[in-house]
């Protein structure tokens, strides 16, 4: 302690000395820079003005003025560059000579409406202008997403970054979408990119992060750019930067209060069969046998009306509430800037009985310069969310089996709401009243999330920067599912109840250090960075389940009966560590040739014990052709090429030999693999950027991505007693073309109109399986219909066909699967071959097509779209702004299991024969053949093309004079608006929504396993917005 006081005293003495020095002779040795930065004559606050060579500078105040002082020292009479930068403006610079005294310099910046001078930091050694990157970097900044902020930031990438595919895994409120950048890298798993938030390598759900906090997102799409991130980056990297107040004007404090309130509803209903084939009594009721079962008519044709109809879809799906409140305070003053925000949201979704998802987030970011060469940045985030799930209770399954005469709102015998007894013999117990389940068997998911970031930047020398960072995040989740004792099934039988509760705590931290040297030489500049990154990750889970409860309405384990096996505890722990080092060097030669190279080595506990390390590298180059070869109308023409490698890490369990412990007994499961290594992805990216006619940009990229050493779980011989083993085998190749066109169609003082168009196309092929037998993948065992074999396109659906052509009939006859001759068969009214003898009889059935060798399974679909296209438009006229995002997916099939399954119980509208000529009506048994034991067949393959107005926001900025008249605090500006999400969709797809994938709660690759599987559908929202600024 004594020593500390001594040190403080010594520092104080030094400070006093410095003040004395400054007040005296110091003035004569300094140069003071002052001036004003404007844009179109208006002051520009928050612009950064500084001297590049010395790393010193300041920030403009609200009135655009700036001032900063440079100690000349040994730099007297040195020529330096004074540069001014502001986000959204084209930078300017001026040469000045350092001489004692005062330098006054004004700048007028022009708006960078095409974002040509954006600076990115992702995948590069140091902050780099997009004019000089050697690979494609997608940037989505706050201005692009603030008008219609999505629940999850990743949703905002849809349509804004070429090559970024976004699918809705589930429409459940609060769920995060799945992302794929360019081609898939995994044959069986997901291809989500690595997410980094303010330096935190995030392993937790992005559903916790609110979009309003996002300042900017940078996206790199594959190994050609993402090598810098090593063994977990083959899927690309999305780096998210949250607001920090660093872009405010000096001395400025800004207070923002944004509210949205509106409703959400289901835009598209799925119809059921509105007719039946049962005998009716004269009074219109069903005729029944002695056991109460309805009696089918002899013809089995569903052409009878139900005695009564209820709007079940309307009873289940109700307009829900959508609300967000966002408050933020940002300030910049001297060496400090910060931003503090609070976000509250509530999304009830479209299931009227549920509360849906609510979330409260608090975030604080602060930057502090301690000295000219020492700064730190810190940030803290805390969020909590709660949701009640409608997704995993199976309600969307039971809903599809309902008959239209069932009133879901009718009371039960005991007066409780939502009639449970909805089964009507002879139909099965698959049917369920969703409202009864949702109201009586709650499923909740509550989550807490914390994130802390700390970064120190130290510049001991003008050309050398050292950084150290510590990032930590933690999530605690409680999941609870309760079915009360006495819960009724659809026939009225009471169950014993059940309870499941699971607590999961996840922690992930990364810390590291970098040394960055930037040296300017006579004809080139070199930036070299050395870095070390350590990652430490853990997951602890404790659960308990009770199979039977002793009393009703007690949702705790005190109610559990304790017979053997009925209460089962569980726990799981995972620890993951990675140690990574890398070096990257970049040469900027004559401002036009950019060459960079990097090498990185990762060591990970996820790799097998005998292959603990993996090495990655990248070489890339860009040539600003227009600097050497001026072309008329071309403002900038850059050619670029990059080749890089990156990896995909195995999952925690994959390397281990596993004998599963079940109730203390041992059961073999997985053969270990001590040589398991990360999948190895190499990508070549070539492309160009052209800025032309001042108002247009065109970016084209071609990506050739090959991912070998796939991490596959393959079957092993049962003789080993194990079920499977993880191995490195198989190669997946993908080629992607991306095009992004930006155009400013109007730009003057009153009007501004910019459009962005993105177009991409991806083709994928499995080129090798390395000895692994071809297999079928899918979201679960029932839907393992996606064939994985060498030479096969990736994402093709295999199954059977129904005979529709003479060729199919001939092959089937040749196989012996049908007898007779072709003349014994005919095409029926629906285009299917049937037996002549059965045509237009109650026995008519479609016939399955067989190949001559007796096999029937062939390719019946392909999930890959022909192309994805998006059009983004921003229009402003004085205070009015209109933002719209239109997305289009052309082609790509969906397997509609949600339609197939209810076929067995005649619930599809195709079976309603009432509007057909009498002799063309088919019996229900004809259609039930298509059910085919839930085996895949071409009857249920549908085109998933769609065009969607994904976002529409119309805002009006109230005139200042009106706002000031309000005299409310220091109200500075106010905006009113309306926001629509998923407002309009055009599609031929018969399900709820074509943006569907079958992996909700299931397994696998959501982009490849496109199975409509009874998931919560996407819904539409329409809200009113009010934003106030102080």
């Amino acid at each position: 302690m004594a020593r500390s006081w001594t040190r403080v005293a010594r520092m104080a003495a030094r400070a006093l000395g410095a003040v004395a020095l400054f007040s005296g002779a110091a003035l004569a040795q300094n140069v003071v820079f002052t001036g004003k930065v404007t844009s179109a004559g208006q002051p520009l606050g928050g612009a950064s003005v500084g001297i590049v060579e010395l790393g010193v500078g300041g920030t403009t105040q609200v009135d655009g003025s700036y001032t900063f002082t440079v100690v000349i020292g040994q730099n007297a009479n040195r020529g330096v560059t004074l540069r001014v930068r502001a986000i959204g403006y084209t930078p300017k610079q001026a040469a000045v000579t350092l001489t004692p005294g005062r330098v006054e310099k004004d700048f007028d910046l022009t708006r960078d409406v095409l974002n040509l001078d954006q600076v990115v930091v992702t995948g590069v050694g140091d902050a780099t202008s997009t004019r000089k990157t050697a690979f494609s970097v997608g940037v989505v900044d706050a201005t692009a997403i603030k008008e219609a902020p999505a629940s999850s930031p990743l949703g905002a990438l849809a349509g804004r970054v070429a090559g970024a595919s976004v699918v809705t895994v589930t429409g459940q409120p609060g769920a995060a979408p799945a992302i794929r950048l360019r081609a898939s890298t995994s044959l069986t798993g997901r291809s989500d990119p690595l997410i980094i938030i303010d330096g935190t390598i995030s392993r937790l759900s992005l559903a916790d992060i609110n979009t309003e906090d996002v300042e900017r997102m940078e996206v790199i799409k594959g190994a050609a750019a993402s090598s810098l991130y090593g063994s977990d980056a083959a899927n690309g990297v999305v780096q998210i930067f949250t607001k920090r107040g660093s872009q405010l004007a000096e001395g400025q404090t800004i207070f923002t209060f944004r509210n949205e309130y509106g409703q959400s509803w289901l835009p598209n209903r799925v119809k059921g069969n509105q007719a039946h084939e049962f005998q009716l009594l004269p009074d219109g009721d069903f005729a029944r046998d002695a056991n109460g079962t309805r009696i089918p008519e002899f013809d089995r044709i569903a052409d009878n009306p139900y005695p009564v109809y209820h709007d079940q879809m309307g009873q289940v799906f109700r307009p829900g509430e959508f609300m967000t409140n966002y408050v933020s305070v940002g300030q910049r003053r001297g060496s400090t800037n910060y931003n503090i925000s609070f976000h509250n949201s509530r999304e009830t979704g479209v299931l009227g009985v549920l509360d849906g998802f609510s979330r409260q987030n608090f975030r604080m970011n602060i930057d502090q310069s301690l000295t000219d060469n020492l700064t730190f940045q810190a940030g803290a985030f805390y969020g909590r969310s709660a949701s009640d799930d409608g997704e995993f209770t199976g309600m969307f399954f039971g809903l599809r089996f309902l008959e239209p005469n069932v009133d879901l709102l009718a009371p039960n015998a005991d007066g409780s709401p939502f009639n449970a007894l909805v089964n009507q013999p002879p139909n099965s117990g698959n049917v369920e009243n969703p409202l009864y389940r949702l109201a009586n068997a709650p499923v909740s998911r509550d989550r807490d999330r914390f994130n802390g970031t700390f970064k120190v930047t130290y510049k001991p020398l003008s050309w050398l920067t050292a950084e150290g960072n510590v990032n930590y995040e933690q999530s605690g989740q409680m999941y609870k599912s309760f079915t009360p004792r006495g819960f009724l099934n659809s026939r009225g039988a009471k169950g014993g109840g059940s309870l499941f509760q699971q607590s999961t705590v996840e922690r992930a931290g990364n810390f590291g250090g970098t040394l960055t040297a930037t040296k300017e030489f006579e004809w080139f500049t070199n930036t070299t960075k050395l870095a070390y990154v350590f990652e430490d990750q853990s997951m602890n889970r404790v659960s308990a389940s009770a199979a039977r409860l002793g009393v009703a309405r007690v949702p705790e384990f005190s109610a559990a009966t304790l017979d053997a096996g009925e209460v089962v505890p569980g726990s799981r722990t995972e620890t993951i560590r990675n140690q990574n080092i890398f070096a990257i060097t970049t040469f900027d030669i004559l401002d036009r040739y950019i060459v960079d190279g990097l090498v990185r080595q990762d060591a990970s506990s996820l790799f097998g014990a005998d292959t603990r390390r993996a090495t990655y590298s990248r070489m890339s180059a860009a040539y600003r052709l227009s600097e050497d070869l001026p072309l008329p109308g071309i403002d900038e023409f850059k050619l670029r090429a990059s080749y890089g490698t990156a990896g995909l890490r195995p999952t925690f369990d994959a390397q281990y030999e596993i004998f599963r412990l079940v109730s203390g007994n041992v059961s073999p499961l997985t053969l270990g693999n001590s040589e398991l290594k990360p999948a190895f992805s190499k990508e070549t990216e070539v492309g160009f950027n052209i800025n032309f006619l001042r108002d247009f940009t065109l970016e084209y990229s071609y990506s050739d991505k090959v991912t070998s050493d796939q991490i596959l779980q393959v079957p092993v011989s049962a003789a080993t007693m194990f079920t499977n083993r993880w191995v490195n085998a198989g190669t997946l190749a993908g080629k992607t073309h991306e095009l992004a066109l930006g155009a400013v169609l109007l730009s003057n003082a009153d009007r501004f109109w910019r459009i962005n168009l993105t177009l991409d196309q991806t083709r994928q092929e499995i080129t090798a399986l390395d000895g692994v037998q071809p297999f079928y993948g899918g979201p679960d065992a029932t839907t393992a219909i996606f064939r994985v074999a060498p030479g096969e396109k990736f994402g093709v659906i295999y199954g059977s066909r129904w005979i529709r052509t003479p060729e199919q009939l001939a092959a089937t006859l040749a196989s012996g699967r049908l007898t007779g001759v072709a003349g014994d068969y005919r095409v029926n009214e629906e285009g299917y071959y049937v037996r002549n003898s059965q045509w237009r009889t109650r026995d008519e059935v479609p016939l399955k097509a067989y190949n001559e060798d007796g096999t029937s399974v062939v390719q019946i679909g392909d999930v890959n779209p022909d192309f994805n296209l998006a059009l983004n438009s921003t229009f402003q006229w004085k205070g009015l702004s209109v933002n719209a995002l239109l997305t289009m997916v052309k082609g790509g099939d969906i397997y509609n299991l949600t339609r197939q399954w209810p076929f067995n119980e005649r619930r599809d509208p195709v079976m309603d024969q009432r509007n057909k000529p009498v002799d063309e009506r088919k019996p229900v048994s004809y259609y039930q053949v298509f059910y085919d034991g839930i085996n895949a067949n071409d009857y249920f393959v549908e085109d998933g093309s769609y065009v969607r107005l994904r976002e529409l926001a119309i805002n009006w900025q109230l005139p200042k004079s009106w706002v000031q008249k309000a005299k409310m605090f220091n109200l500075d500006n106010a905006r009113l608006g309306i926001v629509g999400r998923n407002l309009w969709t055009s599609t031929d797809y018969s399900g709820y929504d074509p943006d569907v994938t079958g992996t909700s709660g299931l397994q696998g690759n959501p982009f490849t396993y496109r199975v409509d599987y009874f998931t919560y559908p996407q819904y539409r929202t329409f809200t009113f917005m009010l934003e106030l600024g102080f």
Partner: protein
């Protein structure tokens, strides 16, 4: 300045070194590997328990047994869970023309062929691990007595696993504690059967030579003495021989004398014993009983219901169903069951004094007759039901005592052995049949003076009723040899496509009356 820089840099490097030195060699804390699990010889008992648990769940798993009982028209279910509807359904011509085993990696119904194959090899592998540790590596479990106990029970489970493979598949691997997995070779099912029998002989010898009582963990509660293990092994051996024939020709050439030899020392000999494993609805899952001792899961086929009460339970199933029965067999009686609270949910009639011990009647049709009325019945098997124990009014929940083999089953195996031999003792056979026919069914006794054919009919009736709910599908295995399976029903399973795929072998299948009709995977 330089010193300060150095100090800061050193601090950073030290911090990195401190964290960077954390080892990357992380042991999986959740599940052991073989080396860790076997490091403590006492843990071998967990391997025996694991083998028992795996064998149990495989033996009574509906994924394998569900299709078999439907194919045998013993139980019936129109649910397609475990592919029961798919393999139970008939073509328009009444055959199973398209119902060969779907031995294709693309077919949803492939899982039924994989179930027994993977399950029995898991229990076999675990048993062999235990036997290798004891016999090859010389490890001892607690003490010599416990070591012999583990060795004996592991042998029993090895035999049971081999039995499962022998009676269900056309070929398989025979593995023991010395097997080299690098030289796997399929052998004909007769070799697998004989290996199982040799194993049971070793079990009997070991059990007779040692004194022990099994720990509760091996059967999830019930314990067995060494004498009882010998009895169980004898019954299992008799079961293996009797259930092995695929058709009547093979049945004729079966060594029925050896069946009698085993059965006479089996579970109904000496002090009778039932081989029971306790299901807990979780790790020990009594799947067959969950489905077929549940009123709303599956039913007794009308073929069997008709045997119980021909007057009321007509077969095939009539439109509207069959009325409440009044069977002379006390196992059905008037079909009443449960109490008034079950009427609404299950369509039952509250129990009267004439309620049956094994079966009940329900007015409910639990599935759409459009799927085939042959999949319907009003008679439910409730012999092992735990109603009232497991829920307010719920039916069997997959937990409770589950019979693997019963003393009565041993009687019937013994009786069959006598009846199938030209010189078999009919009087003894009649006595064995009466043990259930009279005692449980309340039916007139067989005298032994009947013709062999008449006694076989009575035996067959008892076998139909008494093996219901025992293990997977005893009566399927009997009907394929004794006749009665519908044309096109496969008689055995092929090696699963998954296994064939590991070695790149061509796919094949069994069953169906048409040409090869299993959709094969396209050639790569």
């Amino acid at each position: 300045m330089r010193i300060a820089t150095f100090v800061r840099g050193f601090g950073l490097v030290a911090l990195m070194a401190a964290t960077g030195c954390k080892s990357l060699d992380i042991t999986n804390p959740n599940d052991p590997d073989g080396e860790r699990a076997l490091s403590d010889p006492e843990a071998l008992e967990s391997f025996v328990g694991g083998a028992s648990q795996v064998w149990f769940n495989t033996f009574v798993g509906t994924e394998g047994g569900g299709p078999l009982v439907n194919q045998a028209q013993t139980y019936t279910s129109a649910w397609n869970n475990s592919n029961m509807l798919f393999y139970g359904a008939l073509d328009l011509d009444g055959t199973r023309n398209t119902r060969s085993w779907q031995n294709d990696p693309n077919a949803a119904a492939r899982s039924s062929i994989e179930w027994y194959w993977e399950g029995y090899y898991r229990s076999l592998g675990l048993s062999n691990l235990v036997l290798r540790a004891i016999r090859v590596e010389g490890k001892q479990v607690n003490n010599p007595e416990d070591t012999k106990r583990a060795e004996t029970y592991a042998e029993l489970l090895r035999g049971l696993s081999l039995t499962g493979l022998a009676i269900n598949y056309d070929k398989a691997y025979v593995l023991n504690e010395n097997s080299d997995l690098g030289t796997l070779e399929f052998v004909h099912r007769t070799v697998v059967r004989d290996s199982a029998l040799a194993t049971y002989d070793r079990v009997i010898a070991l059990a007779n030579a040692n004194n022990f009582t099994t720990p509760p963990g091996w059967a999830n509660g019930p314990v067995y003495s060494n004498e009882e293990i010998a009895q169980i092994a004898n019954t299992a051996a008799a079961y293996t021989i009797a259930n092995f024939p695929r058709d009547s020709v093979e049945a004729i050439s079966t060594d029925w004398a050896r069946v009698v030899s085993y059965a006479s020392n089996g579970m109904s000999s000496g002090t009778p014993v039932d081989f029971i494993i306790n299901a807990d609805g979780n790790a020990w899952w009594s799947d067959m009983l969950y489905w077929f001792n549940g009123i709303d899961g599956g039913r007794v086929h009308t073929r069997v219901a008709n045997m119980l009460d021909p007057a009321t339970q007509t077969t095939p199933y009539p439109d509207g169903g069959n009325p409440q029965p009044n069977s002379p067999d006390r196992r059905l009686g008037d079909g009443s069951f449960g109490n008034a609270s079950m009427v609404a949910g299950f369509g039952t009639v509250p129990r009267t004094v004439n309620g049956g011990s094994d079966f009940c009647w329900s007015s409910q049709e639990i599935f759409d007759p459009a799927r085939g009325t042959y999949l319907q019945s009003n008679i439910c098997h409730m012999r092992y039901d735990q109603t009232g124990v497991q829920g307010p009014t719920g039916a069997y929940g997959g937990r409770g005592p589950t019979y693997m083999f019963s003393r009565h089953q041993n009687d019937l195996l013994w009786a069959e052995g006598l009846l199938r031999q030209p010189a078999g003792n009919l009087s003894t056979a009649a006595t064995l049949i009466n043990n259930t026919r009279v005692t449980r069914g309340g039916l007139p006794a067989a005298s032994g003076a009947e013709t062999r054919t008449a006694l076989l009919q009575k035996w067959s009736y008892e076998m139909e009723l008494e093996v219901l709910g025992l293990g997977a599908a005893s009566y399927y295995h009997r009907r394929r040899a004794g006749g009665g399976l519908i044309v096109g029903t496969p008689r055995e399973m092929p090696v699963p496509a998954k296994e064939l795929g590991v070695f790149g072998l061509p796919l094949y299948t069994w069953g169906g009356t048409g040409p090869a009709n299993s959709p094969a995977t396209p050639t790569p």
